[in-house]
């Protein structure tokens, strides 16, 4: 008996040691070693990244994981609200990862309310409590998916790029079409009809074609589709046909710049499979671009600038004076006829170039980018978002542009609306001036756009070393179901719908490449 007892002793001691070690570890991890209740107040809010402080968030967004940028060896985030018991998240690292299930539960409980985050940081002098910060959970959901283009901040060459979709409720990202499928060719200009993905368009420069997806069927149209907009009935897509040229600045902050040396608007009828245009969409002395339909399909809004040069091969000397007006043209969907274009907001009145009009699906708000000059707001630091109240314009006959308070001192562009008109997604360079990130903002019923927040990532430090730019974020209510294999197969396939262009360009000069010293070469190794 005694021998057995002696034999058991080491095992018992070992077990006791393990239990003690586990207890100590648990205490250490949970930070119970010193009292958090006696934490000294820091007297300010913590620095957190990404900055979600005071943001309004959708009730169906993925967890807002963040990093506390305060020195310490223990971190605790306490989520407080009047609708639940406080919940603590403790970590040795400054990164707070919120469990997805718990997060979903919080959002469900706090829909229309606020979540309050208290941050505690422990350093050598003990625990420090920072002032709480809030995020407001909106009542209205954001569309479940976001489709964007992911590319390096390239100039005229790319290696890996593609169109990706992100489930906004989780962190799942998947490829819609990458240039793996087009043997390195560019893919861009993804456009959806009514925030749905069963009708969509993707352009590919690999074979200079556009992919039209309708009800799961993919067709390749043998034409170069630029910026496009689907008619709400899904039977027609209007697009820009442009002679785009990249030119470069030797001593400006942004090296790249873009000019359309010529452009016009055309439309593709998906039923007759024909391309057409209208006189006011293709004026010889104007550059028409960025079409967008009103939700009732009776107006096409677009941007237009005077074409004052004759050469299609050189950048005009006064390229920095080109400013686009906001125009619109009536359309009768029953007869398929176009009316006369009229100016909505003149650039000379706004003092800026008006670009990228996008109307909220409820027809109330028109959101535009405005910058000092040119046609490509993503490359203009001065580009800001402006809102126009279309209801007020109907009443007063005046289209007033209102600069949004959410703008930064960097470029904001490529905005899109959610299907319920309560959320916008847009591209912004506010974080660093170079890499475009996607921001989401809540738009209330009065058209007030609330503090934007960056698209949350599972690893909140991801943006610190992320060399991708995320551009053209489009909100959609469902994932793109057409597989990338199907799209890739059609891009590579020989079957294509040949279309006859109604006119070539304002000045029909075939096979001329615009140059400023050198041509804009794409895709060379």
């Amino acid at each position: 008996m005694r021998t057995r007892g002696v034999r058991r002793l080491p095992a018992a001691l070992t077990a006791a040691a393990i239990v003690a070690a586990v207890c100590v570890a648990c205490l250490a991890v949970s930070g119970q070693g010193s009292s958090i209740d006696q934490a000294t107040p820091a007297g300010r809010r913590p620095h957190i990244e990404p900055n979600y402080v005071d943001a309004v968030i959708p009730p169906n967004i993925a967890p807002l994981n963040f990093r506390v940028r305060e020195q310490g060896d223990r971190y605790r985030v306490r989520v407080v609200s009047d609708r639940q018991q406080p919940i603590d998240l403790t970590s040795r690292s400054s990164t707070t990862s919120i469990p997805e299930n718990q997060w979903r539960q919080w959002l469900l409980t706090h829909r229309g309310g606020q979540l309050q985050f208290e941050v505690f940081v422990r350093n050598e002098s003990g625990w420090k409590r920072f002032n709480a910060f809030q995020v407001t959970v909106a009542n209205e959901e954001i569309d479940s998916h976001l489709v964007y283009r992911r590319i390096h901040p390239a100039h005229s060459l790319w290696r890996d790029m593609g169109i990706y979709q992100r489930d906004l409720r989780t962190f799942k990202e998947s490829a819609v079409l990458t240039n793996d499928y087009t043997k390195g060719g560019c893919v861009n200009c993804h456009t959806f009809c009514n925030n749905r993905t069963d009708t969509m368009l993707v352009s590919s420069r690999a074979d200079t074609c556009a992919l039209i997806v309708q009800d799961g069927r993919v067709e390749k149209v043998g034409a170069k589709f630029g910026y496009a907009s689907w008619h709400p009935n899904g039977k027609m897509v209007v697009y820009t046909d442009m002679l785009v040229s990249l030119f470069l600045h030797p001593a400006a902050e942004e090296v790249r710049d873009v000019i359309d040396l010529d452009s016009l608007l055309e439309y593709y009828d998906t039923q007759s499979k024909r391309v057409g245009t209208a006189p006011d969409l293709a004026k010889k002395d104007r550059l028409e671009t960025y079409p967008t339909w009103s939700p009732d399909g009776r107006w096409l809004y677009f941007c237009s600038a005077p074409l004052t040069w004759t050469s299609r091969n050189t950048i005009p000397e006064r390229y920095d004076r080109i400013q686009y007006d906001l125009m619109r043209i009536p359309y009768d969907p029953n007869r398929g006829t176009w009316g006369q274009a009229e100016t909505v907001v003149a650039a000379k009145d706004a003092g800026r170039s008006i670009l990228l009009p996008r109307i909220s699906p409820d027809g109330r708000w028109l959101l535009v980018s405005m910058c000092d000059y040119g046609c490509f707001p993503a490359y203009r630091k001065s580009s800001d978002l402006y809102m126009i109240d279309l209801d007020a314009a109907k009443r007063t006959g005046r289209y007033e542009t209102r600069r949004l308070a959410i703008n930064s001192d960097q470029s904001e562009s490529w905005h899109s609306w959610s299907s319920n008109s309560r959320w916008i997604a847009f591209s912004s360079k506010r974080d660093n001036g170079l890499f475009t990130r996607t921001y989401l903002s809540y738009v209330d019923t009065n058209g007030v756009v609330h503090k934007p927040f960056v698209l949350p990532q599972e690893d909140p430090t991801q943006y610190d070393s992320c060399l991708w730019t995320y551009s053209v974020p489009e909100l959609v209510v469902e994932p793109v179901r057409t597989t990338k294999e199907s799209l890739g197969r059609v891009v590579r396939g020989s079957r294509r719908i040949s279309v006859q262009m109604p006119i070539t360009m304002a000045t029909p000069k075939a096979d001329t490449t615009p140059t400023i010293g050198v041509p804009y070469q794409a895709g060379r190794e």
Partner: protein
């Protein structure tokens, strides 16, 4: 010996620095990169190749990695060939090693593909070892094929071919027929249907005819070695199988009585010795013949230029055929050695190579863009480095430069992103950490003299016309020509730009404009006019009969005397100017007299 050859002659660090190698892999520490890489077929091999390739940063470590790769391939190939009953397997196993050596000695980068070859022969050896022992060869094959497909993608096709050939030898026709069929179907099922990769990638990833390689000249270089490396083991096993089948069908011929020589050769010691001699002769001969000294010199210049090792650049340039990148590095080295105005024409020159703008060649050795940075042409450098990033991938040395570009431009948050990426690399993490700490301490980098110096050069009026125009861009950096010149637009004296402008005008024969700049020498701190400019001024003054205002500086009488002698030689040949070239070359090579005469006058 292989290790020594790779370490001391090939020097894998030259491959690491990429130069014109556009498929050198990027590697980041941490799980996200691992998961991102391994989630597609071939990812494991790619990940391993990316990691091991980083060791090329140290030549000795890179040489060890390559030696191990070659050794393991030989080992597995030998085992496979022995199992296939191929005579001379002991020697033939080295065949893939020799072709791999050819690839490395020729400075092509096919490391991941050779790793794919290694995976194939290793798995084929495993199959050969287990075949016959296991009850279900097909099961073993399927298991290995699936694992290999996930790890090495389409490289598994070679494995399946080896296994089928091996089964031929064993007269197991069902397996021999089934294996190629399964191997053909598996990429579609596993790659396309389950893992959702494209058909192209499913069937070609890690094979030499992948679209990532084909039609890209820099990647197709010596790609034949990969084909051979893939096919040799398969061909060996197949040859063994056919020999076996052939021998079974024909009766064994009666053995002749061997002579002394045959008996001697039959002895293991003799055959081993002879085999070893043959191996060393073939291996050594191949290594010797495969050496690409020109390409090595080119990569050395890139390596030294990136590290600002100017004497070494000039030394390596002696062994290298002149091209735009080499000339660019030479000119930059000459400037930093204070010899540009004196020794420019001792080296081959091409005007456009002085400043490589990136307008003509997007893929370039990125050291050419360091010249742009040194000059203060920050945006041109940024544009070209961004193109390089696309062409070469997120290589640490490009990230470093882009971080610097953004620091100079005051876009420090963007610099942080590049530094953040650099922080995750193996060997540049510390530098990135230091730079991030520096940014934390001084966010505007206002106390950094180097950044401040570059900023002074960067801030100037913007004019899109000067982006690719060398004369215009250099003039913008030094200020207008007309003496007395105002303060340069850059607000500081950019001596490098001034010397480059002079060099550009010398190279393009703009004598009048060189003479015009003579009055500005003092402005840029010269106490005497650089000899080549003196020569140009003399040609201009005598040619046009105009006086040149040298603003207190003078022409060296010795140079004047040389000019007279030079003119005498030229005059002696009268109208047949071209005939004077050999004599002039003997006595005046390296002088501007000769360059100008040769390039501008002789064939007029």
């Amino acid at each position: 010996m292989l290790f020594a050859f790779l370490w001391l002659w090939v020097q894998p660090v030259l491959i690491y620095d990429c130069g014109a190698i556009t498929n050198f892999p990027v590697f980041y520490k941490g799980w996200p990169f691992f998961f991102q890489t391994v989630r597609t077929p071939g990812g494991f091999v790619q990940y391993a190749a990316a990691f091991l390739s980083q060791l090329f940063y140290y030549s000795w470590a890179g040489a060890a990695v390559i030696t191990l790769q070659i050794w393991a391939t030989c080992l597995c190939t030998g085992y496979l060939l022995r199992k296939a009953d191929l005579p001379a397997a002991r020697l033939l196993r080295f065949a893939p090693a020799i072709v791999m050596l050819v690839a490395y000695a020729g400075y092509s980068y096919h490391f991941p593909l050779f790793l794919g070859v290694l995976a194939c022969v290793a798995f084929a050896s495993m199959y050969a070892q287990s075949a016959g022992r296991s009850r279900s060869d097909i099961g073993v094959f399927l298991g290995l094929l699936t694992i290999l497909y996930l790890a090495g993608a389409a490289a598994s096709l070679s494995f399946a071919a080896s296994c089928a050939a091996y089964e031929l030898r064993r007269r197991r026709w069902r397996q021999a027929g089934l294996y190629p069929l399964v191997a053909a179907v598996l990429p579609y099922v596993l790659g396309v249907l389950i893992l959702r990769i494209s058909v192209d990638n499913a069937y070609t990833e890690l094979l030499p005819f992948s679209w990532r390689i084909v039609s890209l000249p820099s990647r197709e270089r010596l790609i034949a070695t990969v084909y051979v490396a893939y096919l040799l083991p398969v061909a060996g096993v197949l040859a063994g199988a056919l020999r076996h089948l052939w021998r079974d069908r024909r009766p064994e011929p009666a053995k002749h009585k061997s002579g002394f020589l045959a008996r001697s050769l039959g002895k293991p010691v003799v055959s081993w010795t002879l085999g070893t001699i043959v191996l060393f002769a073939v291996g050594g001969g191949t290594a010797w013949l495969a050496r690409d000294a020109g390409r090595k010199a080119l990569l050395e210049i890139h390596h030294y230029a990136c590290r600002r090792m100017w004497p070494q650049v000039l030394d390596a340039a002696r062994h290298c055929p002149a091209d735009a990148c080499v000339i660019n590095a030479i000119d930059r080295a000459l400037y930093h050695q204070g010899r540009l105005g004196q020794d420019l024409f001792l080296y081959a020159q091409e005007p456009e190579a002085l400043v490589v703008t990136g307008s003509d060649h997007i893929v370039h050795y990125w050291h050419t863009f360091d010249t742009l940075m040194d000059l203060g042409l920050v945006n041109q450098a940024e544009k070209n480095l961004t193109e390089c990033l696309e062409a070469f991938g997120e290589q640490p040395m490009i990230l470093k430069r882009l971080a610097t570009v953004n620091m100079v431009k005051g876009r420090t948050e963007a610099a942080r992103v590049y530094l953040g990426a650099l922080r995750k690399t193996l060997f540049h993490s510390r530098w990135a950490g230091e730079q991030l700490a520096r940014l934390d301490a001084d966010p505007s980098l206002s106390s950094d003299p180097e950044i401040q110096r570059m900023r002074v050069r960067y801030y100037r009026p913007d004019s899109i016309a000067e982006f690719y125009d060398r004369d215009a861009m250099l003039t913008a950096l030094v200020g207008p020509d007309e003496p007395p010149g105002p303060q340069p637009a850059s607000g500081g004296r950019n001596r490098m730009a001034f010397e480059y402008l002079l060099a550009w005008r010398l190279l393009t024969g703009q004598l009048g404009r060189v003479a015009q700049q003579a009055g500005r020498m003092a402005e840029f701190g010269y106490t005497e006019i650089p000899p080549l400019c003196q020569e140009a001024i003399l040609i201009y003054a005598y040619g046009t009969g105009r006086q040149v205002d040298l603003r207190g500086l003078s022409i060296n009488p010795e140079i004047e005397r040389q000019f007279k002698n030079f003119s005498a030689v030229v005059n002696r040949y009268g109208a047949n100017r071209a005939a004077a070239i050999p004599e002039l070359a003997r006595d005046y090579r390296g002088s501007y007299f000769f360059y100008y005469f040769n390039a501008k006058v002789a064939n007029r």
